[in-house]
């Protein structure tokens, strides 16, 4: 009985997080993401080199989007990133997420 409950518990979490992930990437537009990425690559090296700013090329799209939403709500705290995220709406975040996920990762 207890096991069944555990399975149900995890299944629910999976479903919920799956649903959330779908929402996170709703409305993604690769072309728009490419345009918006111009603002990111001034700091996040396009060649995937980390000399003090993390590489975001190749980052999983859902992870990318969750992080940006966390900066937007203030759950993650960094003055530049909070400013960047503050004016991105969910579709813009989704567009950026799919664009960077498709970029070749760290060199």
């Amino acid at each position: 009985m207890r096991n069944l409950w555990t399975v149900f518990f995890f299944a629910t979490i999976l479903c919920l997080s799956h649903a959330r992930a779908d929402n996170l990437l709703d409305g993604a537009d690769l072309g728009y993401g490419e345009y918006l990425s111009g603002e990111c690559v001034t700091c996040h090296s396009k060649d995937g080199v980390d000399k003090g700013i993390p590489v975001i090329n190749g980052l999983d799209a859902e992870v990318f989007a969750s992080i940006m939403h966390a900066y937007k709500t203030g759950d993650m705290d960094h003055p530049v990133m909070m400013m960047v995220a503050s004016r991105l709406d969910a579709e813009q975040i989704a567009s950026l997420a799919v664009y960077f996920a498709a970029m070749p990762g760290t060199n």
Binding site: E34, G52, I53
Partner: protein, 422 residues
């Protein structure tokens, strides 16, 4: 835009003459041409993005006088001994080899805006459908009494790319024990608002190690300056008693500069320098003046796309433009270049044009591992570029935060120079 072009082409049979006039390159099947003058933060970025995103559909020529671009950003860190001179130099191979940009190392002499032609120093010409101007600044020699181009070697401004900053470093290193360094910052508006104060910090860092009884005097034409509280607190902490900032109310204005005797005269006193950096007032790079797109010292632009108010075929980026609340910085120039590149592609190939989004962050180093920053993002208002939101480092930050800020700035340098040149 796509439909507009195809409609034009469709009616081309009847209106061939008109079409040819309106869209010459498209009508004849030739690639539209973009010329970019200035391969710095604005121009190199614009050339790259236009070439990259148009995937060969636009012919891009970059006209840049120098074969190597030494960034002004981080030149202060070179002064302080945190970077080598070689590490701030960049070439244009990436743009020509990876992106197919025609890089022409020549001086642009003039622009014939009616014929849409750039005249080069050695008599050649570059034709354009759209022109991007990002020539940076020229110095106003008459802004300081007694100041002249010949004084560059005695009191280096080191405010444009190149070897001036090496000269300045050697002069600081050769100061006599307990000597005086005088910094004369420029009046507003000028390239890199925190720059003179970061420069002072880096010179103080150098002197603290090698000549700790030396003094630094700042004769400022401005009553306040960028990140003032943060800089002054940093000076007090790291270089107590070394730096004296004198505002214009106190010194009463600079009356004369004598580079031979190394004396700077103000109402308050005549200051004798063992080494000095004098940065005069500035205006848009001279080619912008020659192209007739300036109004006074700078070029007014349309905030939505960075086109010059005076000519819709010319885009003005970076320091030369009047970007209202955006400071004249490499970051700003790079950001503006992407907006312009997107708009130019739309105009010439019918690709999608997105809304203008601008951003800037300026990092400064006050002392080892003590970095501070200020930044904002911006959108295009009807008349000017407006601030959306902004931030600045706090006075009570921990040493860890300051160190992280410095490390972030190293990442930014890597990011922006890759973005410009590769």
């Amino acid at each position: 835009m796509v439909t507009k072009f195809s409609r034009r082409q469709f009616t081309g049979g009847i209106l061939a003459g008109t079409t040819a006039l309106a869209m010459p390159s498209l009508a004849f099947g030739a690639r539209p041409r973009v010329a970019v003058i200035g391969g710095g933060a604005g121009g190199a970025t614009a050339a790259k993005y236009i070439a990259k995103d148009s995937k060969g559909a636009i012919d891009v020529t970059l006209i840049e006088a120098s074969k190597r671009y030494y960034t002004c950003f981080y030149s202060n860190l070179y002064l302080g001994g945190f970077r080598s001179y070689a590490s701030i130099g960049h070439n244009y191979y990436g743009l020509s080899v990876n992106r197919g940009v025609n890089v022409v190392h020549e001086w642009a002499n003039s622009v014939d805006t009616a014929a849409k032609v750039v005249n080069l120093g050695h008599g050649g010409q570059v034709k354009y459908d759209r022109l991007v101007l990002s020539p940076g600044i020229s110095l106003k020699y008459d802004s300081l009494p007694g100041y002249s181009p010949e004084m560059h070697s005695r009191m280096p401004h080191a405010w444009t790319s190149g070897t001036q900053v090496q000269l300045l470093r050697s002069k600081v290193l050769n100061m006599k024990k307990g000597g005086t360094f005088v910094m004369v910052p420029p009046p507003n508006p000028y390239r890199c608002p925190p720059g003179p104060y970061e420069r002072v910090s880096m010179i103080a860092h150098l002197l603290k190690e090698r000549n700790p009884t030396a003094k630094i005097i700042i004769l400022d034409p401005k009553p306040k300056f960028s990140k003032q509280g943060l800089f002054m607190a940093g000076w007090e902490k790291h270089y107590p008693g070394m730096i004296d900032w004198i505002d214009p109310d106190t010194h009463g204005g600079i009356k004369s500069i004598n580079a031979t005797s190394m004396e700077i005269e103000t109402d308050l006193d005549t200051f004798k320098a063992d080494a000095a950096s004098v940065v005069p007032a500035q205006h848009a790079g001279s080619i912008a003046m020659a192209a007739g797109v300036t109004d006074g010292d700078w070029c007014p632009i349309n905030p939505a796309n960075m086109t010059a108010k005076a000519d819709p075929n010319i885009y003005v980026l970076g320091d030369a433009s009047v970007a209202s609340s955006m400071p004249k910085s490499g970051f700003s120039a790079n950001s503006q270049a992407k907006v312009a590149a997107n708009h130019i592609r739309g105009e010439l190939t019918g690709s999608r044009v997105y809304e203008a989004r601008y951003a800037n962050t300026c990092w400064s180093l006050v002392a080892t591992d003590d970095g501070i920053k200020v930044g904002a993002n911006y959108s295009a208002g009807p008349e000017k570029i407006d601030v959306v939101s902004k931030f600045v480092s706090q006075g009570d930050e921990s040493a860890d935060v300051r160190k992280a800020t410095y490390q972030e700035s190293i990442g930014w340098y890597e990011g922006i120079t890759t973005d410009m040149f590769s």
